[in-house]
Amino acid sequence: MRFSGSVLLTAAVLAATTAPAQAAWRGYISHPLGFAFAAPGELKVEKGTYSGPVAGTHASLIYRFLDDNIEYKVMVVDVNAQANQSANLLGEAEFQFQNQKKLLVDTIDRFDRQYGRKLTIDLPNNGGRTTAAFYFVDGRIVSLQATVLPANGDYDSPEMGRFVDSITFSPEHAPDDATELPAPPK
């Protein structure tokens, strides 16, 4: 009995040490941008470009994380000069995201007096699955996107929903230990 117990314990220890450790989820907040969210892995900040027929071309700010072959991205596009077209700009961003892709989920999203949309698509050429949420807040398009890459393969992973559902536009809902995101470039 003692021998079989120690074998089981050894096997459990071996399994725990060989399974890849998943990073802890941390809270992040940007007071200038007015939102907070949670994500695992190391933060990288990038600049990108966003364009659409209605929006035109704009610089975008991207907060990116990668953990366990799931990519997490928060994209912020300042379109304040066209804020009066907020409904069209948001609709365009949502439409472009799913255009000519296999759309699995398309649903309204409502919280913190914000109304946005949550969409899930399968990427072409078996490139993975992305769940995204889109909002228009204070003159900006804000989009959270989590992509399960083929190397992960678990396209039903709850981590996508966990990420997009972590967004809040009320700082009082952010955890006390949330990390302040780098200030957006001027």
Binding site: N84, I108, Q114, G139
Partner: protein, 189 residues
């Protein structure tokens, strides 16, 4: 043989005279409100009210027609001072339309092309308590929230009638069909 033909023709004539004549679809335009659409029957204008948590209480301009137990309605609310909140106001309106009803479909609905595209949504719901089926299309542009609803009432008998889709798909925000009947928008306070 001729008696049979005569009897058949008489029967058809009686049948045709008892079937209610369906009204012709006409084009309507409201230059004040920047919208045109098609609808059957006579369109009447009125003032209505709306209340949303975000929108607050507002007066609305309503164009309404009823034909063959289908109700067609265009509702316009002005938010000239809150255009930057158009996305939220549009989302609230869509949410209120579907709340507590069975959503059958919810899709993108775009009017126009290129940089002039107006992005909206089209939603089909079954109304609670078997009150019929409603198709709604929602847009926010030029400071106004537009709702287009066509409700097939139970008395119509065919919840899959193509007429609601014909109505919501006829919407234009630029230009109108030649000969469109001009609608005067009543003044809201």
């Amino acid at each position: 043989m001729s008696r049979i033909i005569l009897a058949a023709l008489t029967g058809a004539a009686i049948f045709m005279s008892t079937v209610p004549a369906l009204a012709e679809w006409k084009s309507y335009v409201s230059k004040d409100l920047g919208v045109s659409f098609m609808a059957p029957g006579e369109v009447k204008a009125s003032i209505g009210t709306f209340r949303g948590d975000v929108a607050g209480p507002r007066q609305t301009i309503v164009f309404r027609a009823t034909e063959d137990n289908i109700e067609y309605r265009v509702t316009v609310l002005s938010f000239r001072q809150a255009q930057a909140h158009g996305a939220i106001l549009l989302g609230e309106r869509e949410f209120m339309f579907r709340q507590r009803n069975t959503v059958l479909s919810d899709t993108f609905s775009n009017v126009g092309t290129g940089k002039d595209t107006i992005y909206g949504r089209k939603t089909v719901i079954d109304l609670a308590m078997n009150k019929g089926r409603s198709t709604g299309a929602f847009y926010f542009t030029n400071g106004k929230l537009y709702t287009f609803e066509a409700t097939v009432l139970p008395a119509h008998g065919n919840l899959t009638s193509p007429d609601p889709g014909r109505f919501v798909d006829s919407v234009k925000f630029t230009g109108a069909a030649p000969g469109a009947i001009e609608l005067r928008a009543p003044k809201v306070e």
